[in-house]
Assembly symmetry: C2
Homo-oligomer: 351 residues x 2
Amino acid sequence: MADVARRAGVSVKTVSNVVNGYPHIRPATKEKVETALTELGYRMNVSARHLRIRRTGLITLAVPELSLPYFAELADAVIREADTHGLTVLIEQTGGRRDRELAVLSGSRRQLTDGVILSPLGLGQADRAAFEVDFPLVLLGERVFGAAADHVTMNNVAAARAATSYLLELGRRRIAVLGPDPADAATGSAGLRLDGYREALDSAGVPFDPALVVPATPWHRSAGSDSLGAFLDGGTPVDAVFAMNDALALGALYALHARGVDVPADVALVGFDDVDDVRYATPTLSSVAPGRDEIARTAVALLRSRLAGDGGPYVRVISEARVVARQSTGSAVEQVISVQPGSQVPADAPV
Amino acid sequence: MADVARRAGVSVKTVSNVVNGYPHIRPATKEKVETALTELGYRMNVSARHLRIRRTGLITLAVPELSLPYFAELADAVIREADTHGLTVLIEQTGGRRDRELAVLSGSRRQLTDGVILSPLGLGQADRAAFEVDFPLVLLGERVFGAAADHVTMNNVAAARAATSYLLELGRRRIAVLGPDPADAATGSAGLRLDGYREALDSAGVPFDPALVVPATPWHRSAGSDSLGAFLDGGTPVDAVFAMNDALALGALYALHARGVDVPADVALVGFDDVDDVRYATPTLSSVAPGRDEIARTAVALLRSRLAGDGGPYVRVISEARVVARQSTGSAVEQVISVQPGSQVPADAPV
DNA sequence: CTGAAAGCGCTTACAG
DNA sequence: CTGAAAGCGCTTACAG
């Protein structure tokens, strides 16, 4: 930069002003500087800039794994959204491991970025204190509520209730629920979605049958296939499956096909997450869309606002969710069956 | 760091040595420093460090989109591999757009990282000059050969030949090839895989029938479904489909099912990439595994070696590929049908 | 509108 | 094995 200044016959301050697009520069000066810039092939040393301005323009997105389509699509959306604001995203894969999630909050890489968006899986309600950090942090998902951080989540109970109600309206009465984890806290996705399932049964006057609860963990396709397969082999009558995510649903579909069960004629199937895949399964899968783009947009917006110095109380933003009907519930064309509105509440509001 | 030094009663040099794990420090000194470090809650300013050592420990991985499972899985593998060497990965999504790929090589973000792994899609053979850059660069894939950069690719011709031969050995004779792009250069994935397909037909003495070439672009599920659907509706007899990637294959499977065509009884199907999904399709999909982990490992190793100052001639590393048989070709259990060995040649060797 | 100069927080020859 | 000091390349009060 000093070389450029010398060549252009100005001070480094002026060069800096030009490089950073500072407005009040005499056109002639600007021109001289720009010529020198290109002649010398100047390239900003960003580390020096970061050192000086005490900010890197990088943010961390920590998710369990990119190989899981839901997180790959979320990462895609967050990267795009950050891009539009001049922010660059560093992705950390935690594998859902508690120690790696903690490392995201305090490890050596922490210092690389200005803030963190974390989708915890290993950390739970008991680890709330770990989220009291001195940098902007946005939590995603349903593992932790009420922490001292901004939080973006979806309306799990309402969405699960809507999906289950939809199956009930189709006349299904023996609805298996695939995915609960007996060890999971009540506030995890599994607990909330199970609540929604039960609420829907209650409203319809259909008794809850524990025999229709099919645990499956982790929420991967293989677990969905294995768990539902074993359940089907057990002979419990069933006419619908509500899977707690799409990976489980795709695994379930595989298990159903393998046993010659027709979907949706014999068993209707609804998943959760609305990942791209479900539109190419045979039959195409009905699913709950959690509002992925809205989640990405909100998470980045919250981080930016904190980065800009917003010191207001932590908030919990709930995204708008939809139930999307496709062939696996007998819908020939894709259609939105119901919309669960989003909202915003204080982060420490009751769930 | 100066504060820590003062508190520990040593110089900043000693603090730096302790923080960076420099070996020859008296244990008592080390202890004193470590105490001061924790008492003061010291956290390294990484920008200052980067400025000083002229390196960030970050590398760029530029792929079309994370929503495409192949690239999500590749990113996963590259992140893991980089991790084991203390490198952090910054992912750029280019959308396969030429301008964005060029921006990866010369845009403002370029200065953030020490080197780049780029999987080009918009840039082609004609843009070879764009790869003459003054930082370590590793190219992935089949869009560009012979550029002045290290290159990791797979044995496309051999792998496509093996996949086609496998279908021929199953007795299939009317093998449609899904994915060629008439506009694509001969050295792109499509051209090379088509070459392999034709070579296999030739060896088997089966005449090449242009009516069995089914163009499809981009290589997404929807294009696979639409293109193969239209082809099937045209009534050309067919008993197998070789799809140029798994997304096309999954789309093809959808189109086949939609028309009541049994896979594999009526039509056998082989995809390419061996993404996770294919093991959960119904039927499970046979596919060509390009050696994803080896590609990730090699790409990172090449970058590290250049970063360490290796000035040797550019190389082209060809990964080991396998044909994996599953239900879509009548294989009840997953099995490796053939292995195409990898190799290493100068980057400017003929393809 | 522009200049001269200090300082961000590290690392590393150079001495000892 | 450790210290004192220079310098990496920027930005920004402070003057003018």
